[in-house]
Amino acid sequence: MRRGFVIVRRTSAAQLAALAIACTAVAALATARPAYACGAYWTVGCQYYGFHEGHSVTNQNGNSHEDVYTTFSPSNVSITGVHTTAGGSWVDSQAMLYGDTVIFFGEAATDKNGCFNPNSQTVFVNCRAADAV
């Protein structure tokens, strides 16, 4: 009787472990990030951004209006478009929804633009900076 009880417990533990693995796999599939086509179009980058991590590139052609376009995952958060000095010091920022473009006005020819992750989680970010107007 006692032995049988032990066998039942062992079987339950194995089943629970299998169930946990199956649930983890299903959850991973359900939350899998969409595929991103990285390439030259994303002039700033196409990569994971950690908490409070940003990347930028120098103003294109010295124009005063520059835009930043981004897509990211998870898409139910917001990413920040940033305008910095040539040395990389932050000047201005604007939160952006998924697929938004933000246009910054009145930039110096040597300023930079890019994307910044203000979220407390790592986010995969596609970021493009280019002439706006």
Binding site: H52, H83, D92, L97, T101, V102, I103
Partner: protein, 209 residues
Amino acid sequence: MRLKTIRTAIAVALLGAAIGATYLGLGAAQATRPSAAPFRRLVSAPAPPGLRDAIPVIAKKAGIDPAAVSEAGVAAPGTPYRSTLVGTDHSGRIWVAFASAYSTTSFSLASSLFAHRPMVVLQGTRGTPSQLREVGFSVVVNASVTRVELETAGGSTNSLLLTRWPNTPYASASVSATSKEDFPKTVRAYNAAGRLVDVQQVDLTPIQP
């Protein structure tokens, strides 16, 4: 008897003074923004020149006539410019962009903003890596929200005056602040029954890209 009459007169005078002071104080507080910011065409509003240059670009991408873009929920006079821009495309769909004195987002479909929550808060900040110099945000709500409350970094709390967008279920407001204690910190949305339906925090951390 005479003494009692004098006491009564003094009490009435003090009460009247108190009521008057309260009324005048309230009047002074409301003088900064007596009513919600107007919903008006951007062409007739004192918008920043850089924004005017950008409007044709973002409006045409959304299929909106640039001349028909309206300004809703602009920040209070005397504070840095911030507003929501509203436009309608040829199919009658409502679009919104978030603008400031220094930048503007592209137009997004208003209906797409509320997939996850009844209130959207998008902030903008300026400063140095060690110090915030300006913090602002625009808030857009759907019909389920009737009141939006702002708590500042200094601890004061006040209701925002929402600008209703004509013939739509949406409303918006904007806030800009340049002093530390006025920086917006927490935005709360309430429904008609007074129940809290959404809370969003404004990130007051300087950016170090």
